[in-house]
Symmetry: C2
Amino acid sequence: MSSAQRIVLASRPDGHPTLDNFRLETFEPEAAGEGQVQLRTLYLSLDPYMRGRMSDAKSYAEPVAIGGVMQGETLCEVIGSRHPGFKAGDVVRAHTGWRTHAVMDGDAVTPVRTFGAPVTTALGVLGMPGFTAYSGMKLIGQPKPGETVVVAAASGPVGSLVGQLARLAGARAVGIAGGPGKCAYVRDELGFDACLDHRDANLGTALAAACPRGIDVYFENVGGRIWDLVFPLLNQYARVPVCGLIAQYSVADTSGPDRLPALMSAVLRRSILLRGFINYEFARDHYDAFQQELGPRVARGEIKYREDIVDGFANAPEAFLGMLSGKNFGKLIIRVA
Amino acid sequence: MSSAQRIVLASRPDGHPTLDNFRLETFEPEAAGEGQVQLRTLYLSLDPYMRGRMSDAKSYAEPVAIGGVMQGETLCEVIGSRHPGFKAGDVVRAHTGWRTHAVMDGDAVTPVRTFGAPVTTALGVLGMPGFTAYSGMKLIGQPKPGETVVVAAASGPVGSLVGQLARLAGARAVGIAGGPGKCAYVRDELGFDACLDHRDANLGTALAAACPRGIDVYFENVGGRIWDLVFPLLNQYARVPVCGLIAQYSVADTSGPDRLPALMSAVLRRSILLRGFINYEFARDHYDAFQQELGPRVARGEIKYREDIVDGFANAPEAFLGMLSGKNFGKLIIRVA
């Protein structure tokens, strides 16, 4: 037996995570109890939030324990069911964590619904990253026609949808991405009005030029240096949904000067809104509408997305580290089985 | 003639303002043109926001020009009218600035409406400061029963109403004020659950003890050191309406460490809302409801307020400087005539 594998947190990272922080283990798969389903993982989603769970800082979610299985969402095939809602062969979405096999309560897994789009979109544009973009824009950013929306990591699963939703709302979409290839994709394939390379030494000047009427919505999903360039351009009544700070998850530089007084002063003088959020705050009330609105458009190709699929469960740690440093291009997914 | 006086901005302050930044001038009162009213100032309101107008930093409002009349709201008696809506003897609210006489378009002045409360409340609890508290709580803070609301400058015109509105919403109200006299007033007269002295060296410990379930709404009207004590206590989904930063209007200490990364991280991890606002953003849609809801309660004494009335127009600069350093106790108003 023992063909099942899982990846656990071997140690907490001190600064940037390394492969040593992970450990691959084998384990004996359990059998499903009453009301449960037995699952075989098809795809594992890798997302920036997982970096936060590796640390034990106060957060909305408990950190992963040392020796505990890394958290994460998967697409799984049901290989045994003692729950009336599922039968062998069904494909479901589940929070199994990084493992090849799992047993879950049937009530805790969700049938996959992609409106004819590929099943993997349930982990990306039609899943959690897509809903992050959708809820952050719909409930916090609220772009209006003629406004300017800026988003970094614009070729990623969240950023790419943020810009497309901005365009659908009649706003200008300005992306920031890493390298000419990603920038060309964001402009030419996703239809953003502009995309700037964050490696450009003159990024600040380029950003100001790309936003001649200032910035009305900055969808903050990266943190770090880009904030300093965006900040002076924020307009009166600007909205800043904050859903990720990938650049500072590992290393936050707190040497001076202190930027807090200037931030608070701008918040006051320009009536700026900052709002952190985690997509599941809004899931109960808005997830269905999200799927109904975007599912058919994704299936018809009106909303575009890109996936970066890596083969092999054991490659998850290396792929995850690559994502934290911007090496992936599109939604990062591990093909497990 | 020339009995009319005005106070102009003589120079921009470098750090804390001084009396040298102001100059008292005499001038010849104008006559009212068609559609205008001639006004004699009864009361001049002095408010912290005026400090901002003395500087030329980018803001929601134009700064006062060097040599220009200091901005401000007044209660005036109509002494001549060429507008059909007003007659001599009417008392109106107007943005005349710091002057003893003025001519204004009749359409730009507002009849005073205090539901039987003293006329000066139109500059305080039933005027701009009251509406700042009301709109910040109603539209941003939104306290729920059992939650904890913290506000500094709690004996002032904004803070005192913030706490009373928190109590009316079923929330706990914790104030911070300067000195035992103000704290006793906030607790015993205004009915806050607790009030802490910001001069207390153990303020952080006292604040944590007064907020055993953390802080759900921090109504930010002071800035400075209190933020650092409030910040670690902010709960998941905390709301921070930002309407004033009196402590940093003059001197913002930007020496390190940089507190911005920790702020952004908390905003994300605890889904915190920060929103700067100026009361008039909400005036068109909510000012009438504010007056209808609070006016009768103020008149009946159910909502309490305190005024600090200083006699003599020429004393305005000194009284203003005193307010910036916390010397007033209650809404600061100059009795002009």
